[in-house]
């Protein structure tokens, strides 16, 4: 527990897009953090539990100035993941796999994702369900065991319960992300049989806390979902959507948004609109990347590391 101060600085550096990796460990709801470079040491030093990787917002089909080749940067992220030793148990893709839900974009994305050595679990972003009101087309493209309703599902791995939520359907005018009553009922039921000591990881595309309402960066009925999660000692919520690392703590629940593999977006309110943020091409890989998560087998602690594709020169 001697690291937190130093590593809090690391977090800030990362959030400022200076490119420093940060490793978070959540011990009974208390976060600790380490430098990313310690990952191998962490695994060697402790009993190596489950590790997984989160990627997000690959936006296959986007080709504008902010990143003319999003397929290349997704492939680079996958190259990094495939080089991890030990390999992660699986990859979570938290949505906006494609830019415009076009069949050709889905095909390209699927071809690239197939190069992952580990299996991938996918949940849709709003860019993946344009014209797909119930998420069925997306679910058909990325089948997952146990998908229910409009594509939500859960699974267990390494003693952790993973719940994938869909909050990108049925947006209301002027509104935010939306889970809907059917999904909330399912969630309540899904969690019912679990002991309060089971670590929970919730993954969804849009943030489940209110990051910035003027840009729609939140989920209008997330409070109900969080109420169902309240009794658990360790809840980790992983989102994408805003193309940058942001974090929030509420009780035993820790929220993290992830970088995109495609392009960054401005910090909340830092620009007139949330449109793509164009950085110098030589700096792009410092502001996009992936997230590595370790779960210690013995303690169920979660360690979260955000790793850009390149470190600043």
């Amino acid at each position: 527990m001697s690291e937190p101060l130093a590593n809090r600085r690391s977090v800030l550096r990362c959030m400022a897009w200076a490119g420093t990796g940060v490793l978070w460990t959540v011990a009974g709801g208390v976060p600790r953090s380490f430098a990313f470079s310690d990952r191998a040491g962490q695994i060697a030093a402790k009993d190596s539990g489950l590790t997984f990787v989160q990627i997000s917002d690959s936006h296959i089909g986007f080709s504008k100035e902010a990143n003319p080749d999003v397929a290349a940067t997704l492939s680079l992220a996958i190259e990094r993941i495939n080089a991890l030793d030990p390999q992660p148990a699986f990859i979570l893709h938290t949505g906006d796999v494609t830019h415009l839900s076009k069949p050709s974009e889905f095909s390209t994305a699927a071809d690239i994702l197939k190069t992952l050595r580990a299996p991938v679990h996918v949940i849709p972003g709003e860019h993946d369900v344009i014209g797909d009101d119930d998420g069925s087309e997306f679910s058909a493209r990325f089948p997952a065991a146990g998908r229910r309703g409009n594509g939500w599902y859960s699974f267990d791995a390494g003693g952790v319960h993973f719940t994938g939520l869909v909050n990108v359907l049925d947006f209301k005018a002027g509104g935010l992300g939306h889970l809907g009553d059917a999904q909330l009922e399912w969630l309540e039921d899904d969690l019912r049989g679990l002991s309060a000591s089971t670590p929970i990881v919730v993954f969804a595309h849009m943030p489940l806390w209110n990051v910035y309402e003027p840009w729609g960066w939140g989920t209008d009925d997330s409070a109900q979902a969080l109420a169902y999660l309240q009794r658990f000692g360790s809840v980790t919520v992983l989102n994408g959507h805003i193309h940058q690392v942001q974090q929030q703590v509420e009780g035993n629940t820790r929220f993290f948004t992830a970088m995109s593999t495609a392009y960054p977006q401005p910090a909340p309110g830092a620009a007139p609109t949330p449109g793509p943020l164009t950085v110098q091409p030589s700096r792009l890989r410092e502001v996009i990347g992936l997230r590595d998560v370790q779960i210690e087998g013995r303690t169920g602690r979660l360690a979260v590391t955000d790793e850009p594709l390149a470190r600043p020169a």
Partner: protein, 118 residues
């Protein structure tokens, strides 16, 4: 809400808009056989401009996306919907029945607008 709508690709969008701009008579009735009235809404900086547009029945409204980000048009009752509009893409829809049509962008629902047909 009976009427036709079309999604126009990037290459045609400008030409269509120009043609419509020439033909704009949004407030007056139009004679049989004349070019139907048309009006335009620009999508820029994550907003519909103008946000509220008043037109005569029979007017065709064309939306053109000038943002780098894609947007969509969907009425709140989902009866009119555009599909994805990438940069430069246009979508048009003819409004024949008087009323107020509230719409938003299905990707960025904080973007809202109204078409008032009277």
């Amino acid at each position: 809400m009976t009427s036709a709508h079309t999604l126009v690709g990037t290459a045609l969008a400008t030409a269509v808009l120009l043609a419509m701009a020439v033909a704009v008579t949004p407030y007056g009735p139009f004679a049989a056989g004349a070019t139907p009235p048309a009006a335009a809404v620009t999508i820029e900086e994550f907003a519909f401009v103008p946000g509220d547009l008043t037109i005569a029945p029979g007017t065709t409204v064309a939306w053109v996306n000038k943002d780098e980000a894609p947007h969509t048009i969907i009425t709140d009752d989902k009866t009119v919907r555009s599909g994805a509009l990438d940069t430069g893409d246009a979508f048009s829809h003819q409004f024949t029945t008087p009323g107020t049509y509230s719409y938003h962008c299905s990707l960025h629902p904080q973007m809202t607008g109204h078409i008032i047909v009277q």
